[in-house]
């Protein structure tokens, strides 16, 4: 009896401790976001106030409308969605298969190829930017969405590496057992590996969505026509030369642009909290 009580007491103590830590760090994280929101709601002249104010006198919710009508929001939203969705599908399809090869199948040259895969991430993109652009020009892909979408169908090094690591946490005995049951490699991949790494696949989906959604340099270099631009590029419309930046509108627009990522993450979370983990390790 006593033991049980003290154990419960300890549990409550630990839980409240966890809560305190989570609360404090959450507040730290939210302070900058609060500042964004407060700036987004400021009047034009209030933005210049010195010293700056934390809470706007009269919150200007109209700023959000102003920001969204200043840029062709609908068009850019569609463009960004198309690119992002295609990128996500491409990354998931290709990276999951390639990672399977690197994680589960033995072959000569595998380690070298894997090292090459990793090393493609080690050259700064700033330096390959111009050759890559020239390449897309040769393919006649500039000013289309192709350079932003198609390469993703060939697997991204980051995602391949990530998935490989996750695949490798799955016991190999599962593969062997399946093989004995007459399962092919494709069968192992689709019936064992994929279902067991749902959280990792969700991670890939979220990351590729977020990166593609927020990509700036890619659309900037590859796209020219004004009706083909993306939301992140449109954000720069609020920043002018010599401090002519419309801070309130920029922050308002930034928050709106980030919203789909929040929403996606909020709902994709259930993949991380499935609770029951089937590993087949039992027995």
């Amino acid at each position: 009896m006593y033991l049980l009580r003290s154990r419960r007491k300890r549990e409550v103590l630990i839980k409240s401790f966890v809560y305190v830590i989570l609360m404090v760090t959450s507040i730290i994280i939210l302070i900058p976001i609060f500042w964004m929101l407060s700036t987004a709601l400021k009047e034009d002249s209030e933005v210049y106030l010195f010293p700056p104010e934390w809470i706007p006198q009269k919150p200007q919710f109209g700023n959000f409308k102003r920001a969204l009508t200043f840029i062709p929001f609908g068009r850019y939203f569609t463009n960004t969605s198309v690119i992002t969705f295609a990128t996500m599908v491409g990354s998931l399809l290709s990276s999951s298969i390639v990672a399977y090869g690197f994680a589960r199948l033995r072959a000569r040259g595998r380690d070298i190829l894997f090292m090459i895969l990793l090393s493609t991430m080690m050259i700064p993109s700033q330096i390959t930017m111009i050759p890559v652009f020239v390449l897309f020009k040769l393919l006649n892909w500039t000013d289309t969405f192709k350079p932003l979408i198609i390469p993703n169908f060939f697997g991204g090094a980051f995602f391949i590496f990530l998935l490989r690591q996750f695949y490798m946490t799955i016991p190999i005995e599962l593969d062997d057992a399946a093989k004995i049951d007459g399962c092919s490699y494709l069968g192992i991949f689709s019936r064992i590996i994929l279902p067991l790494t749902k959280p990792a696949l969700a991670t890939v989906a979220i990351f590729s969505f977020m990166w593609s959604w927020n990509d700036f340099m890619g659309p900037l270099i590859y796209l020219n026509s004004r009706d083909k631009l993306t939301l992140t590029l449109a954000l720069s419309r609020f920043t002018g030369m010599y401090g002519m930046t419309a801070w309130n509108l920029l922050m308002a627009a930034s928050l709106v642009v980030a919203l789909p990522c929040f929403v996606l993450f909020f709902f994709a979370q259930r993949y991380f909290i499935q609770g029951i983990v089937v590993t087949g390790l039992k027995g």
């Binding site: 989570l22 090292m115 111009i130 799955i170 954000l235 979370q269 983990v277």
Partner: protein, 301 residues
């Protein structure tokens, strides 16, 4: 060469190459060309708008006697050495806390992830506000809570890198997500079995969580190194490398040479040195990984 491969092994190899063929194709079409081009440029005097002029290893020679090259290497290593371990530790702790069964988790997780979503210039400018020595919220809080006179942060040669490290810790949401996914893969039976054996929380963490998470930790470690050596946006927007070169990150120096100083050739040489540094580090970590990374799938060949 070992003995002849069995038909089974041959078949496995064939499947391997089939599986990775999309990546090989993509590598050959999109990645290899530009990388080779940048290697070529590193041996040229090249300003992007005029055709490159072959000058041999002069760019690499110049690099050795360039104080800014060494400075940028120093700055970047310092940042990397502190921010990577700190980021991994912090995000692992938070991920474990977030993996508990407590109320409001969905919200907490979303909050932690928020900073990674709002990216780019808005965030950088926000942090300039926070770090401002005279009006920033950070020094304000330091004074109100602890009566500490905060440093000049971004305007101090000593504090600019710590400031950028703090800022980088704000964006660990991505790593937290990866760890959460990893923690989900650990079978609960392992913990249950350990509890029966009388293990306490710390034992469980050390003997189950860490080994089971080690492949994911390896991933975040290597990506952390690669990314921290390529820090750019913060420095470009917030400090422009200052004050007095104290935040001249390596890739910022590359960028300046490539697009602002008309020295694409030199910038390419710098990139290849960076490439070699990261490659060696990654190689060493991989070589050491059998000592600390536990793969469920490892088997004798």
């Amino acid at each position: 060469m070992k003995t002849r491969m069995s038909p089974m092994a041959k078949r496995e190899e064939r499947y391997f190459y089939l599986c990775i063929s999309p990546w090989i194709a993509g590598f050959l079409i999109f990645t290899a060309g530009p990388i080779v081009a940048s290697l070529f440029f590193s041996f040229c005097n090249y300003d992007v708008v005029t055709p490159p002029d072959w000058i041999g290893i002069q760019n690499y020679k110049r690099l050795l006697s360039d104080p800014l090259f060494w400075q940028s290497l120093k700055v970047t290593s310092y940042f990397s050495l502190v921010s990577v371990p700190l980021g991994i530790a912090l995000s692992l702790i938070i991920a474990i806390l977030l993996n508990q069964n407590i109320k409001g988790l969905t919200w907490f997780r979303t909050i932690y992830y928020m900073p990674s979503v709002i990216s780019g210039v808005a965030v950088a400018l926000l942090w300039m506000w926070i770090f401002n020595p005279e009006f920033g919220v950070l020094n304000f809080l330091l004074w109100k809570l602890f009566h500490i006179q905060g440093p000049a942060w971004l305007m101090s040669e000593e504090w600019v890198i710590p400031a950028l490290i703090i800022m980088s810790l704000w964006g660990i949401g991505g790593d937290i997500v990866i760890y959460l996914a990893g923690l989900q893969g650990i079978p609960t039976e392992l913990y249950e079995a350990a509890e029966i054996d009388g293990a306490n929380s710390f034992n469980k963490f050390l003997n189950i969580t860490i080994p089971m998470m080690s492949p994911v930790l390896l991933f975040t470690l290597i990506m952390g190194i690669i990314n921290s050596f390529q820090v750019f946006t913060q420095a470009y927007v917030m400090t422009r490398g200052g004050p007095h070169y104290a935040s001249l990150f390596y890739v910022l120096y590359i960028y300046q040479n490539a697009f602002q100083f008309f020295s694409m050739g030199y910038a390419s040489a710098l990139s290849w040195i960076l490439f070699l540094i990261i490659l060696v580090l990654t190689f060493l970590i991989f070589k050491s990984s059998p000592l600390w990374v536990y793969y469920e799938s490892t088997r004798e060949r």
